[in-house]
Symmetry: C2
Subunit: 233 residues, 2 copies
């Protein structure tokens, strides 16, 4: 079967490929709903109404991305609740281990955490058939409205430069925890691994070399975001 | 000036009426953003993903209503942040005094609190010029997608009927706190009071008799919602 020849008809997906695709969509769908909840809850720490609105608006985008993914899981014949359930534990563990202690940590988490997750999903979407790829890209890219958040972090550091060190550490910790939980997710999902490695379809899968380059691109983009915040990565 | 003859041109509002209208819009705008935050945060208590999504979806609607109101405040030449600021204290006091201790209380609060607030805003919108009235109605009426929430409360009571009594008390407490904070808001806002009483425009204002009927309608609708939950009001 060649999905590239027939990008619209997801009905033509082989069973194992469909399974892997639904696993990936389920991962991102749970990630977006848990991201929504955490960001919205963290927006409570903002006493500045402009900032509260900026965080709320980011959270709401997460929810709309979530809905987009859920709709597509249904289109592929999957059950969204069942598809998301296996990823609950890893995402909740990530959030439990990265609970911001103050607003600045919450803002860094929203910007850095969401940025890494989106980059990662877009990278992985390369190995998915075109229709699902397009959905994942749409659900991952609408996060450019972050100037208020970036500005507030920079202002916070200018106001008290001693905040820079701990916030840089916090950024590193977010990445570490994300990688840890990401590995937990990947290790358990065979159909998803087969999809990424190209074992369940006839498009080229990821080579070890490509996976290295992918991690490099994600790291570079993370470093740029940290720099935008005025933090060393 | 007669706004009824010229419903679209809000630029024709007298200064005092404009002030009162912006006060009302600011009240509802702060109410919706704080409702968003609280509902989204309360959705964390839901372990059932279907329920989590239902609460998240209600929260997201609140945010969109918030945006609608903020845009209209700008159209009227107001500053949304300044317009909302005076109401922060009352709404935050309401939420601080009605923090749900468990998911069922959170669900009852989302359904009952949001219902009363919407009913109240729609009633008050009668005294506002037509364009703003339409915005307030649109921002207050999109909350009919509550079957999942109502069902979960009913199920919770069926599962353990001893929950019914405390939840009914909780519902009454929500109304009591809402009325208390509502009075705090109303007492301090002169332009808004003049607007409702018809002192700043030439449409008919509220009579004492009408205010009584208004409270009656709000009470009746509240009672119906409590009944839908299986609770005595």
């Amino acid at each position: 079967m060649s999905e590239q020849a027939d990008p619209v008809s997801t009905g033509a997906l082989g069973e194992r490929e469909r399974e892997g695709t639904i696993e990936l969509l389920g991962t991102i769908a749970y990630g977006t709903i848990s991201g929504f909840t955490r960001m919205a809850a963290d927006s409570e720490m903002a006493t500045d109404l402009r900032l509260k609105r900026a965080l709320a608006s980011m959270a709401v985008k997460e929810f709309h991305n979530h809905e987009l993914l859920v709709d597509h899981i249904i289109e592929l014949g999957g059950d969204p609740i069942a598809a998301m359930a296996p990823f609950e534990e890893a995402f909740e563990a990530f959030h439990a281990r990265t609970k911001p202690r103050n607003l600045l940590e919450g803002l860094v988490k929203a910007y850095i955490g969401d940025g890494i997750a989106s980059d990662f999903y877009i990278e992985i979407s390369k190995y998915v058939e075109p229709t699902s790829r397009e959905i994942i890209r749409r659900a991952s890219s609408d996060h450019r409205d972050v100037d208020t958040i970036v500005g507030a972090v920079r202002d916070g550091i200018v106001e008290d430069p001693r905040r820079g060190g701990p916030l840089a550490l916090w950024g590193r910790r977010l990445v570490g925890e994300a990688l840890t939980q990401g590995q937990v997710v990947a290790a358990d999902r065979e159909a998803l691994s087969e999809l990424v490695l190209g074992l369940s379809h006839d498009r080229p899968g990821a080579t070890l070399n490509e996976m290295g380059e992918l991690m490099q691109r994600i790291t570079d983009r993370h470093r740029r975001r940290m720099g935008r915040l005025g933090l060393s990565a």
